[in-house]
Amino acid sequence: MTMRVDNHPVLGKQTDRKQVTIYFNGKPYEAYEGDTVASAMLAQGIYALRQHEVSGKERGIYCNIGHCYECRVKLEKRKVVRACITPIYNGMEIGSLTGFDERGE
């Protein structure tokens, strides 16, 4: 996991973080407890979290603090949440919202 900043010259070392597994569009990914959905995915090099409803183009986070709603994802098939302010947990299932075309709407 090369995108993790485990050693920081001022903030120090980050060790002993508990590893969990989350599922994004059905695929398993490693994450750390304390991650948000957005940080866990970005650490894995995943930038695109959903598709735009109309254009079908891919979208990722923008503000990362809950203001812009760009990072909407499906949680456990039922809820829509903001990936940047939703903490992960072991076994969590997240899915991308897709363009209307793909949904056949």
Binding site: R4, V5, A43, E58, Y62, N64
Partner: protein
């Protein structure tokens, strides 16, 4: 359901310090925040204040958090407030987890980043400068190995260095291409002017140099001599005469298309270039996050120095709506130390109303108000010039509003 003496929306420096001050006076206080951790925008902050002294926002946030919990303050994260309603006892707040009732309500929702739409800005891998700050410093994840920052201002320069500490190669800080909507951010002369006005105490060499310039030369002159390849700060080139015309990539950012521009923002022909990058940050500046205040019926005023529309309020953090208070960046964009000091003022003012001991509290409150002014005078990071003067105008406006309002402040529905 419990009736709180004080409900605070926002667990940033302002909200936490207000909670601490009020709880010390015996109030039952609850704080709600939609982020996953306590501390608000403090959490991302990491500035070197002197040779061996860092402003480490995470440490400050942890300290305030502990103090508040120790005093019996109830803090809930991961809860969003989306509506407010006045009631006979005070206020009802509607949240993603149900309703809360309180005598007094304090809005400490902070600031938000102003977006700068540029062609390609919705490509995954384009994010606000604050998003990158939070990824790196709070979540300890690098958004990529190489980066270009679009938007040259105090915050983007500070965060560029923070990204560098996370191991990111920040290739350059440039400006957005000038257009009708964002003429100031996209015009070298205006960018220079804002650097020069801001900087008497700014902690960076560029800003200090520019500050010295300001005493005897005009920005249009300074910008003429600003090197095309930029001035380096923390080894990162700041190019205020290079503008981004488009962000490139399909399902992921690949780079930025740039041109050289004249001091007035005009494009110099045949200067197009592409800078490759894993991710791109947009820095459009900060504005008070005041939606909830708008819902509550506050009177607003647009004040450029404070970052945008702010609810009219007194220096003691009262609004013109009964039982409603504001503190921190919702009242104007400033640094976290000032937000903390404002929080203390709000907490004490509210406690004096609940406890009915305004006279006894008077000297404490006066001291707290003086502390805000002192922090402002000594601020190392200022987001706009002439903040103190702008604030005095708001306080005057509050007095006027108050005098006009012989009627009950706002009818209870």
């Amino acid at each position: 359901m419990k009736l709180w003496n004080l409900l605070i929306i926002g667990a940033g420096p302002a909200g936490l310090n207000a909670a601490i001050a009020a709880a010390e006076e015996g109030l039952k206080v609850k704080v709600i925040d939609e982020f996953t951790k306590v501390g608000g925008r403090l959490l991302g902050q990491l500035h070197q204040e002197s040779k061996d002294n860092w402003w480490n926002g995470i440490e400050v946030a942890n300290r305030l958090h502990e103090q508040a919990v120790h005093l019996g303050v109830k803090i809930e994260c991961g809860v969003s407030v989306y509506d407010l309603e006045q009631a006979e006892f005070g206020w009802k707040a509607y949240t993603s987890q149900g309703m809360e009732k309180t005598d007094k309500l304090l809005l400490a929702t902070g600031a938000t980043e102003v977006p700068t739409p540029i062609p390609g800005w919705t490509i995954p891998g384009v994010m606000s400068i604050g998003a990158a700050q939070v990824m790196g410093n709070v979540h300890r994840v690098k958004p990529g190995n190489t980066c270009v920052i679009i938007g040259a201002n105090v915050l983007s320069i500070a965060i560029a260095n923070e990204l560098k500490l996370c191991g990111v190669n920040v290739k350059e800080i440039i400006i957005p291409q000038a257009n009708a909507n964002l003429s100031d951010n996209g015009t070298p002369e205006k960018v220079m002017e804002s650097f020069m006005r801001l900087t008497h105490m700014a902690p960076t060499i560029l800003l200090r140099q520019a500050g010295k310039f300001a005493t005897f030369i005009h920005p249009s002159f300074a910008v003429k001599f600003y090197p095309k390849n930029g001035i380096k700060l923390f080894d990162i080139p700041i190019k205020i005469k290079t503008a981004a015309t488009e962000i490139l990539g399909e399902s992921k950012v690949t780079g930025v298309k740039t041109v050289n521009v004249r001091p007035n923002g005009e494009i110099i022909p045949n200067t197009e270039k592409i800078t490759k990058a894993d991710f791109v940050c947009i820095a459009g500046g900060l504005a008070p996050l005041s939606e909830l205040a708008a819902l509550s019926g506050c009177v607003f005023k647009y004040v450029r120095e404070l970052g945008g529309h702010v609810p009219i309020h007194s220096e003691r953090m009262e609004t013109n709506v009964e039982n409603l208070f504001v503190a921190g960046n919702i009242t104007g964009v400033e640094n976290a130390k000032i937000a903390m000091a404002q929080g203390t003022v709000a907490g004490l003012t509210i406690a004096s109303e609940i406890n009915g001991n305004k006279l006894q509290m008077e000297s404490l409150i006066e001291k707290a108000v003086a502390a805000v002014r002192k922090e402002r005078d000594e601020a190392l990071i200022q987001f706009q010039p002439n903040i103190a003067e702008a604030r005095d105008l708001i306080y005057q406006e509050f007095e006027l509003e108050d005098r006009n309002m012989e009627r009950p402040k706002r009818s209870i529905s």
